[in-house]
Symmetry: C2
Subunit: 313 residues, 2 copies
């Protein structure tokens, strides 16, 4: 049987898995990344994880796909300089994997792997024009158009979070600066310091240094008005981003993942409403679902394997 | 010899031309559109123009490409409802041309044809990741990524002008509303009414109803400070759009056309400066030219023929 190996290199964990050609999971392993110990030990852990899921017997490995934190140069197969991998700078990970296992390898950043994964097995199965947006500590994205991953000339595309919504404030006016998790937490802090009445204060036991988008999401789910307002504001900002991308890329579906998306309809409803306000014609949004991501923590593994399956990267 | 026919259907003129397979012009004709006379006479004029450039003798026509004002549905081959073609609504122009001449036909909107044309014969020859932006009465665009025209699921993509830069004002905050020709003329009028000292006033003989971006551009070229300021503002807004598109699409080159682009460096220099301010990393803009379009009034004809040559549409 032909099998595919997927590797998800993250700031916290390294995961590896073996899949069949329908991307069914056959074996899976994970360990901590501990990049602070240096590049060589981290690389050794990556290789060991791959070995752990390598097939025995007559099964063949078609290739090894790797999802890594951006920025990644997929054409060169290089991990450029991710802020959450200590000391990594222009590491030719694709070549290392290829030479170590003598099989084809492919490398892409995590958001690009995520859009492939959601299209293969998640919320966007059957679609050919997909935009994936992750709203988390930052805002990132992946784009599939006409069935192909769109990464641009140097693989730096899909960075939808840096879209400017308020030019007067420079890069502070990007949707990431206005709507990602830290912005939600920061605004909650500002409002609480100004004396706002909200259960968010109780959820952090009055310690504003513990504020996070997650806590705000929890308060929203329990009916807290301020929390719902903060999430709705983020939803509207992401909604403007989605409207922009509808005009530029005219996709069939938007998939929104990342921690902040766990706020559910408190985020998604303002998002969907804003999209209708900011598009020039109903044809851009009518029949275009804006849905939560479906894949959980295995999204990177599935996407990495999909790089090999789809011949991407 | 194999030849290709290109047709440029515009609100004012219908042009048709015959090209060889290197897109060299072999024959060319044009007439007025006069769409107010009705769809049937206009269609008859289109067919007559094609006949005029049809090859005699043994030459064969590989296909007929048509550039039309958007919105266009390229998959269905339908001109949807362009504001400058009177009464046109869901006209299946591709099928009409195909049936009349018994050759393959293709249809795309003018901005998508323009990016193909500039890539084949103009400012972006040799590039595979190209964004074309036209700054005129509106702001439109065309995208080539990984060598292919990106039009999205229903051919509605590339409409970069509707990118929102100032969400507080709804659709009035789009880059088109802030930076296209009418915005430049409107702001000139506002400043002149407020008593600004500028030669723009003399160029329109004091008649503010004659204000246009073209007049403002002329004044800028003659050293008028207000005119240069207005053009620079438009340049900065388009620069923010370009920065956004760099993050999303990571192209190799931007080509800027349309009437407003005739203002030259008064527009392009603020544009290029703004791009550097609004990108997260130099790798997005370094070595990425932002250049004027090179093709003149034949851009639509060349792009239409390129639809056939490249198998697009």
């Amino acid at each position: 049987m032909q099998t595919i190996i997927g590797v998800d290199l993250g700031g916290t964990r390294i995961r590896a898995a073996r899949f069949d050609e329908q991307l069914n999971l056959l074996a899976r392993t994970e360990t901590y990344t501990r990049s602070e110990e240096g590049i060589a030990p981290t690389l050794a852990r990556i290789m060991a994880q791959i070995e752990t899921v390598w097939p025995g017997g007559a099964d063949e490995v078609a290739g090894v796909g790797v999802s890594a934190p951006g920025p990644v140069d997929p054409a060169a197969g290089v991990v450029v300089a991710p802020p959450n991998l200590y000391g990594w700078h222009n590491v030719p990970l694709q070549r290392y994997v290829q030479e170590r296992f003598d099989r084809p390898a492919a490398l892409q950043n995590d958001a690009n792997c995520a859009v492939l994964a959601e299209t293969q097995q998640g919320a966007a199965v059957g679609y050919h024009h997909v935009v994936y947006i992750t709203v988390s500590t930052g805002i990132g994205g992946g784009i599939i158009s006409h069935g192909k991953l769109i990464t641009g000339a140097r693989g730096l595309g899909g960075e939808v979070g840096h879209t400017i919504l308020v030019p007067d404030t420079g890069m502070h006016g990007s949707v990431e600066q206005l709507a990602a998790g830290p912005a939600i937490a920061r605004e909650a802090g500002r409002r609480l310091k100004a004396g706002a009445d909200s259960m968010i204060r109780d959820l952090v036991d009055g310690d504003l240094s513990r504020l996070s988008a997650k806590v705000v999401g929890q308060a929203a789910a329990q009916g807290d008005a301020l929390a719902q307002e903060l999430i709705a504001h983020a939803g509207r900002m992401v909604g403007v981003l989605i409207a922009n991308l509808m005009h530029v890329l005219n996709p069939e579906i938007f998939v929104v993942g990342g921690g902040v998306s766990n706020a559910g309809d408190f985020l998604f409803e303002p998002m969907r409403k804003t999209v209708r306000e900011f598009t020039i014609d109903t044809s851009y949004w009518r029949g275009v679902p804006i849905v939560p991501a479906q894949l959980g923590e295995d999204v990177g593994l599935i996407g990495a394997a999909a790089l090999i399956l789809t011949g991407t990267g």
